[in-house]
Every structure is written in C-alpha cells, then in structure tokens.
C-alpha cells in the first residue's frame, strides 16, 4: 500500500479560518476572495503569498507582537500588521514594498541580536521559523555586538555552546546564563532560544485551556514561566499536552525525541490508539524510525490538538517487555517455550478442535479488542461465528458501554452518540455526568472548556469534584455531587422538575415521539416521590441546586449531555442511559448542532468493536442473530450456517468455565484479569480452561493463565480503521513493519486457517469491502472514500454518501422516540457496619486503563502508583495521614495502597484508579452488574479502609504467581 500523501494544505495560514460573507481584495496584484473577518495575512496565504511572521500561527488568535508581518495598504497610513488587520472589500495590499522589507530586516536583526547562532547543532535545525524568517527577509548581518545574554555560560560573547567551551572550558562566568529545563520527560524548555512570541502561552490558554504558562518579567528579562516561582515544567500545572511545543517556532520548547533522533523527513497521517476521541496524528519518521507524533490540524475530531498520551506516550511499542515470538506451554504452571508461528498455531488449533470434539461446538469462544481495528475485530467475531460455529464473542465494551448500546438502542433505535465533536462549539448548556473528560478524554475537554470560556454553561453530575467543576477560567454553574449508585434517582428528579414546571418542548415531543408514552412517563415522573426534595436524602443532592440545574438544561438554549462510565457501570446503567435519552427528548435537545446525547467512549475503537458484531447476540450493524434475514446475509457471504442463539457474554463465559462447559478462549488485546471485576472469579474461570490464547503486545495479566501467546502488532505497524465516539471512521496507517512479523488481522487469519477456514485476505481494504457488503450502515465505506475525505461518520450509504455528522435529524432511527419509565432501584451493594464507605473508580490523565501501554512510557512520572482518595473526616476517624499504607477491603477481596487525603470526594466516598496490576483495584470490586447487559458495577463497592503495614497476602501471592507464570525458556538451538 502506498504511503498516504496528504492531500490537504498543511501550510500555516497564520490566523484561524473565518466563515463570514465573501470579501474581494487584491494582494500583490492577485485578486483573492475570502470570508469577512479573515486577516490580511490569511488572505495572502490563500492567494499563495506567505507574509513573514513569527508570533502568528493559524491555531491561535492573532496577537500582533512580532511586527514582522507588516504590510502596506493603499489609502491607509503606516504599516499595519497583517495578522491583526481584517480584510476589507476593495483593499489593495502590498506585502513586499521597500518600506516593509526594511522594517522586517530591522526587526529580524533585533531578534537575532539576542539569539544563539548555533543553528547547525540546534534541535530545531531545519524546523525553525526564526531561521526560515531570517532567510526570507534576507538578513545578512547583525550590527549589534554580543552583549548580555542567557545562552553563553562563559560570558565571553560566545554565540554557540562549542564556542563558549573553547573560551572557558570549565565553570561559568555569566550570571545571566540559564540552563535548559529538562524536567518534563518529553520536551525541554531552553530560555535562551525564546523570542517571546507568546505562542506557547496562548496555546496553553486558547487550545488546551490549562493556563499553566505565562510570560514573566519585561524586556530582556522576559521569560516563559510554568506555574509559580520555583516551579519547573514538571512541578507546574502543565499537563504535557504538547500544544506549546507544537506552537513554538524555535527550539525553545522542543521534543527530546527530535533532539535525539534528528528532524523527521517523512510523515503519514494515522489515528491515535488511546481514548475514544480518536485524534488524528502525523507520524513523523526517518526511514522506519518514529521521531515524533504531532496532532494533525485537519483531523476532524481533534482539530490539531493532542494530549500527553497520544502526543508522547507511544514508546511502549519499542519497550523491551514486548514479546515478539509466539510461545506455548502445556500447562499454565510450566514456563513458556518460544516456538515458530507454525507450531504455535497448530498447537492452538489442535487444542481448540479437541475441546470442541469433546465438549461441543459451544465450548470455545473469543474476546475481540476495542484496541484493535474494525477489520481485526470483524475477523475475530467471524472466527467464532463462521469457524467455531457459535456466537461466543464478546468485547471489552461489555464492561464499559454495553448499557449505552442497550439504552440508546431502546429509546432512539441505534447505539451511538448523536453528535460530532464539532457540535460542542454550538453548545449553550453542557451536562457532564459520570465522566471526567479532562483526564479521560482530554482533547474533548479542551474543546468543551474553550466553549465554556465563550460563555456556555456547565452542569456537572459526579460524586467527585472533578477538574471541570472549577479550574482556570471555567466553573460549573451546578455541581450535583450525588452518592454513588443514585444516578437514576437524580435523572428522574431532573425530569420531575422539567415536567412539573412545564419546561418541556411539547411541539418537539408531539412531532418526534409517541405522545401517549410521554404522558405515561410524565405521570410517572410527576409523582411526589421523584421530586428533588423527596430524593435529596437518598442522593445527597441539594433540591434547590437540582431544580436550578434542570431549569438551566431545559431553558438555557442548546443543551448537550456528555456521559461516561459513571453512568453505565452500575446495576442500573442501562436505566440511566434511558433516563438521559428521555431528558434530551423532552427538552427537544436532539437532531441539530449543539445538543444530543453523547457517550464518551473509553477506548479508541469501542464504538467500532460494537459496530462490528462483537456482541454475542448481534451480527455486525447491531442486528440480532435471531433474525433469519440478517443471518442469511452472512450465511451467503461466508457459506456457513449461523447459530440463531445468542452466545455467552464475558461474565457468562467465566461462569461456564467454572462449571466446566466453556474451555477454550481466544482473547485479542484485552486484559480481562486486570480490567474485569472480581479478579478472583476471573482467575478461577481462566484457570479452569484447557486452552487460553492471548494475542497481545505484552505478557499481560491474563497471559499468566494462557497456554498460547501470539505476539501482536502495535497501531503503528498495521493498516485498518478505528471508529471514534462520534462514529467517525478514521484510517490507521502502517508506519513501520510489524516487529512481530504480522499485522493482527493476519494473525487471526492464520489461526482461522489453521482451523481449516481457508481465508485469503491480503489487505484490510478487502475486509472493509466485506463489512460494507454485509452491513447497511457501512455500505458506502471504502478505503478510497477515506483517502478522499480523510474520514467519514456512519451511517455512510446511498442515503448519506459522505457520512452522517448528526443523527436523528428528521426522525429517530427507530421512527418515534420512545420514553421509557425509569424507576430507581437501589443496588444491592450497600454500606453497613463492616463496609461503611462507597468505593468508586476512575482514570487519570497520564495513565490509560490497565496501563499496559502507559506504564511502559515516561508517563509514569506523573502517576507511579494507584492512590486511594479519602475525605479528611473519614481519614481522621481512621487515624490516616497523607501517604499512609491502607488496606482497602470489600466482601470480594482486599488490597493495599497509599492514601491521598482530599475533599474532592465527599465524606463516605473513596476513589481510586486501576492502572497498576500490583494494586489490582478489581480484587475489591464485586460481580454485581447492570440488569440488562451484565456491565459490571465498578462504580459502587461497599468497602472499609484501615491502616496497613504493606501489601496484602493476596498481593504477595499474586506477584509470586505472576512471576512464575512469566518464565520463558530460552529457545531451543
């Protein structure tokens, strides 16, 4: 497959695009037409004329400080800055008059007078705008002699480090010399290279919204400062998103990887493999060596922004822990044996066949990965349906967003977010419930914060005081800090206020929903027991605050709901999703920009793995296996009968394994032992199986119980597509050859063929063609279309040939929107004398899920262990101090970790993350689950916390078992 040639204009246009009425003007004799509000600089760029610039870049609003972009405009006095001057009809602009050329040369001379001249050995050599501009304006000499500076340690007027060393081999004689700040693991800050253009400061504010940077001092003393005096980049509020590095025109903020490896010479556009935002990145390389990942400005999900994970934490693909050879063992007590692919596959196929012969065709199954591509997922479910001949397929979405599938499917008719991410730019009131976007979905959070700074309102519904509740220049209008497990009561109370205060949109409901069903729902929610005053004691939410929030959502203009796993991972996860769908319908907040119900998906391809038929009851495109017309499509395509019965879900597989009727599992790219609840039960299920095949980059925790290990390929090593939370199908491009020898779809094909399948795909493009041929919502998707458009959002078919940014515009997918009664049912997981606190779990910015990737990068400097957040009152009662070892126990199990005392959590609530296997928060979580989908109730566990001396017995046993299980025998000669 050819390298992707970027068809879009990647030039820096200087200032952001505008969307006003067309304006005609002339620049250097060229007629150009641009939208009103466009800067002269951008208009010139549209005409193909690059006006010299330093402080302007098209990701930031114009600033007008560098004075390099001055132009002359006929009929106007002086030399205005082209970046801050908007176009005007009939304007005649000259960008290269002798007057402006002279000014620019003088400006450049001043800049360079306080800049080192070590260009040839500078990390930004070849990628430095200061260097480019010096060339562009024709600077040929600097009349100023060397003087005070920050870059010459010798203080002798040296203009480069080598010259300084020549003049003074040891010591320092320049009191103004400032060394580089190397504290951030991924980039350096070198004050001596800074031209004080403020692009980094503006990027931190405008793009990322963290406000960590500022310019401190004046004149010669001006410097970028991170945080407070005494802070370096690492200790400051900086979240290492890379926006400042991206914006910096010089080597002042520079990736360490570029300093080490040199400037990249080729680039491919691909898609990040972390969260469900699905950011587009340019992978920049020398040969097949990846030098850096930079956010692609034409990426429609991220619009040129990134977070610390996608931008920097890709090094795991090169980590020495990565397993590159297939391995097998007879028993899990044995050490691993490295073998050829052929031997591993025939061993695996032999075992699976033997199991099926002895225990029936339903005794084996698969788990597809939300980390892998659509094409890979499609093949894994096809493996079980067409080769194993059963429907035993499930995916990690089971443990995260399966209630979204059920809830939105029941109410609207399809399982997907209703909006695109651009829609956030039109939101007036955002409701964020059970999600922590600044940590879990950082690029979306930055886009939301930008809208909030423009004046949109925010309602946060979460037990914890997440960063969005209050941080730099934003604050939630209402934070409903509910007791974990009471989502349905809160959502129903919001509906109560909207209905009883008649704030609903009757015209919308009559036109788009079933009025009688609404009336039944209205009657239900109007009952006094659902009033916020009645539920306050239960939910812990102040009634007046809840009423105000309901009024704001219903009457504040475009209302958009964004939710995460704090909604789904409950006994009533599906009911809450339905309740949110009801709220959007009753207020008419569906079917246009700025509104909707938007699940924030945890993993890069959760949406895609669900779309691709990973669930045991559904064929690709969310169609139940019981439907003969749907089975026929696949029976015709695959030439085999499809089982009409639903298969086993992950928890059911484990139950059946303990019962002895499920004995073989092919698990691609998921670590169920660490990520699924009730670790001991998962371990018992895995230990009971005869053949566990783990297909992964690393010997993950599940592999401790595996008999076959098939090495996987990273997202940089394969072709395919990911589908993000906005249904956007993005290309994943092979940047380098797979280090393990095969792309993951090839490994699945090899396994299928070892079982006798006879598949012959030679490129994922062919798999996508099969998906399009069998799945109506993907009917129009081809790799050619993705090359042309960059990405498309499903449904993409004859009706929507270019995809569908907004769902349910003229009508719901199911026809009429359906209101479903949402009665609150308390979870059986209750606090009591033994377990008086409620534990809820979540993620942190720098780490990702089970941490298999991020723990193998420098991201660990921000989070090297899981901590237990506990309120000062609860800590004091237990005699706990900051940093103490504590034992966290539930009826399922216990673990130990260190305490962090904070009032972010309410009294009675504790919180931790699950990124580290030695903590194993899921030893503590229980096997309770959502009533409709068996999605585990991670977010509510009754626990006790007590002082401890160190790791629990279980942790020590586990560590010892893991070490034994990871032994690898040297390969036979």
């Amino acid at each position: 497959m050819k390298d992707f040639i970027i068809p879009w204009d990647d030039r820096d246009m200087g200032t952001p695009a505008k969307s006003g009425k067309p304006v005609h003007l002339t620049i250097d004799g060229i007629d150009v037409t641009v939208p009103a509000g466009t800067s002269v600089m951008r208009a010139a760029a549209e005409a193909g004329i690059a006006v010299p610039k330093l402080c302007a870049t098209d990701s930031l609003d114009a600033f007008g400080s560098c004075r390099l972009c001055v132009v002359e405009i006929e009929g106007r006095r002086g030399t205005p800055a082209s970046c801050t001057t908007p176009v005007h009809a009939g304007m005649v602009v000259h960008t290269q008059s002798s007057k402006v050329k002279k000014i620019r040369k003088g400006v450049m001379e001043l800049y360079v007078s306080d800049h080192p001249l070590d260009c040839l050995t500078c990390a930004a050599n070849g990628d430095c705008e200061l260097q480019d501009m010096a060339g562009m304006v024709g600077l040929r000499d600097v009349r100023y002699t060397p003087g005070d500076n920050h870059f010459d340690p010798s203080g002798s007027g040296a203009r480069s480090q080598s010259e300084a060393r020549l003049r003074m081999p040891e010591g320092e004689a320049n009191p103004r010399y400032i060394a580089k700040d190397q504290s951030n693991p991924y980039f350096t800050y070198d004050p001596s290279k800074c031209i004080v253009c403020s692009r980094c400061v503006r990027a931190c504010e405008e793009v990322q919204g963290t406000f960590a940077l500022t310019i401190q001092g004046r004149g010669f003393e001006s410097r970028v400062s991170a945080g407070m005096a005494g802070d370096d980049f690492l200790s400051s509020d900086c979240v290492s998103c890379g926006a400042c590095v991206q914006a910096c025109p010089t080597a002042t903020l520079q990736e360490k990887s570029v300093a080490e490896l040199g400037t990249p010479d080729r680039e491919l556009v691909t898609t990040c493999a972390y969260c469900g935002v699905g950011c587009s990145f340019k992978a920049e390389l020398n040969g097949d060596e990846l030098v850096r990942m930079t956010p692609w400005k034409h990426g429609k999900a991220n619009r040129g922004h990134s977070c610390v994970k996608g931008r920097f934490a890709y090094g795991y693909a090169e980590h020495p822990d990565r397993i590159l050879n297939p391995m097998i063992r007879d028993r899990i007590e044995d050490p691993w044996r490295e073998v050829s692919w052929e031997e591993a596959l025939s061993f695996a196929a032999g075992r699976l066949k033997a199991i099926q012969e002895k225990h029936g065709r339903k005794s084996v199954g698969v788990i597809t990965s939300s980390r892998c591509t659509n094409e890979e997922t499609y093949l894994v479910q096809k493996l079980t349906r067409a080769v194993f001949m059963n429907n035993n397929t499930d995916t990690c979405a089971r443990v995260c967003h399966s209630p979204t599938g059920y809830g939105l499917g029941q109410t609207y008719g399809t399982s997907a977010g209703t909006q695109d991410f651009d829609s956030v730019e039109q939101v007036d009131v955002a409701v964020v419930i059970g999600a922590n976007p600044t940590d879990g979905h950082p690029v979306f959070a930055s886009r939301l914060k930008k809208r909030l700074r423009q004046g949109a309102k925010l309602i946060v519904i979460d037990p914890r005081r997440i960063d969005l509740v209050k941080s730099a220049h934003i604050a939630a209008s209402h934070h409903l800090a509910l007791t974990p497990g009471t989502n349905v009561a809160v959502v129903t109370a919001l509906a109560h206020v909207i209905v009883t205060e008649k704030l609903y949109d009757e015209a919308f409901i009559r036109a788009r929903c079933d009025w009688d069903e609404f009336m039944a729902y209205a009657e239900f929610v109007s009952e006094k027991r659902h009033a916020p005053e009645s539920t306050a004691l239960l939910t812990g939410v102040n009634a007046q605050e809840l009423r105000a929030a309901a009024r704001l959502y219903a009457q504040g203009g475009n209302g958009a709901i964004y939710y995460g796993l704090g909604v789904t991972e409950h006994s009533q996860g599906s009911t809450t999703v339905m309740g949110l769908a009801n709220l959007a319908m009753m207020t008419g907040n569906i079917g246009r920009e700025g509104v909707g119900v938007n699940p924030l998906r945890g993993q890069n391809n959760v949406q895609g793995s669900c779309d691709m038929g990973s669930f045991p009851h559904e064929l690709p495109g969310y169609r139940h296996v019981k439907l003969p017309e749907v089975r026929k499509v696949f029976e015709d395509a695959w030439g085999v009968p499809i089982d009409p019965e639903p298969g086993l879900r992950i928890p059911n597989m484990l139950d059946a394994a303990v019962d002895g009727t499920f004995r073989g599992l092919y698990c691609q790219g998921e670590d169920i032992l660490q990520s699924d609840p009730d670790t001991k039960h998962v371990a018992a299920g895995l230990a009971a199986m005869d053949c566990v095949i783990v297909h992964d980059l690393f010997l993950n925790e599940t592999a401790n119980y595996a008999h076959v290990f098939l090495p996987g390929s990273s997202f940089l090593e394969k072709n395919g597509t990911f589908t993000n939370a906005e249904r956007r199908i993005n290309r994943v491009r092979k940047v380098m050859a797979p280090k393990n020898g095969y792309e993951d779809w090839e490994v699945t094909q090899l396994l299928a063929n070892a079982m006798g399948a006879g598949w012959a795909y030679t490129h994922p493009e062919q798999i996508m063609a099969e998906i399009a041929a069998t799945t109506p919502s993907f009917a129009g998707v081809t790799y050619d279309l993705l090359e042309e458009k960059g990405s498309v959002q499903w449904p993409c078919n004859e009706e929507h040939p270019e995809g569908t940014p907004l769902m349910h515009v003229d009508g719901f997918v199911r026809g009429k929107g359906r209101f479903i009664v949402t009665e609150y049912v308390a979870t059986d997981e209750k606090t009591g004398p033994r377990f008086p606190l409620l534990l809820t779990t979540g993620r942190i910015l720098s780490q990702y899920n089970v941490g298999a990737q991020t723990r193998r990068t420098a991201n660990s400097v921000w989070h090297e262990q899981d901590l237990l957040e506990i309120h000062p009152h609860d800590a004091e009662n237990r005699g706990l101090k900051e940093g103490d070892w504590v034992k966290l126990a539930s009826r399922s199990g216990e673990t130990t970790l260190r305490a962090k005392i904070t009032d972010r959590v309410s009294p009675g609530v504790v919180y931790t993350t699950f990124h580290h296997p030695d903590t194993q928060a899921n030893v503590v979580t229980t096997d309770f689950s959502d009533w409709a989908t068996n999605c585990p109730e991670y977010k509510v566990t009754a626990v006790q916390v007590a002082p401890s001396n160190g790791p629990s017995d279980w942790q020590e046993d586990y560590a010892a078992q893991a070490e034994r299980a990871r032994r690898i025998l040297p390969a036979a000669e």
Partner: protein, 74 residues
C-alpha cells in the same frame, strides 16, 4: 453459574419490567432473557424454575412459560 447469581440476574430484569406500564411484564422479561441469555443459561434457569424457583421475583417466575427451551445441549 451459581444459582444465587442467576436468581439475582433474573430478578434484576424482572424488577425493571415490573416498573413498566402495561401488563406484558412476564413476556417482556422472557423476551429479554431469550434475546440475551445463552441456551445453557436458559436451560439452567428453566430447570431451576421447574424445581420450585426459590427466591425468584414473581414476574421472573412467570416469565419461564415464555422462555424458549434451548433446542440442543451445548
């Protein structure tokens, strides 16, 4: 699967449908179980009901009449 876990799952489903308007609760519970429960789970469930169905929500017990008996053993 342990009987306690199965009873809990069935009762959770029954509890939801019991709150819905109309009088098709038993059929709705059965339809949900038919759609999402693998045959060996349904077989275990029907056996359990046949043996008295201790601890089941009335709607969950009534649903048994509408649950499809699996056509084959796993």
């Amino acid at each position: 699967m342990s009987p306690e876990k199965m009873v809990m799952m069935a009762n959770q489903i029954a509890t939801f449908f019991a709150t819905q308007p109309g009088d098709t609760g038993a059929e709705d519970v059965a339809a949900h179980i038919n759609d999402f429960w693998e045959p060996r789970m349904r077989a275990q469930y029907l056996d359990y009901v046949a043996q008295g169905g201790e601890g089941l929500h009335p709607l969950a017990a009534a649903a048994a009449a509408h649950i499809h008996a699996p056509s084959e053993k796993a």
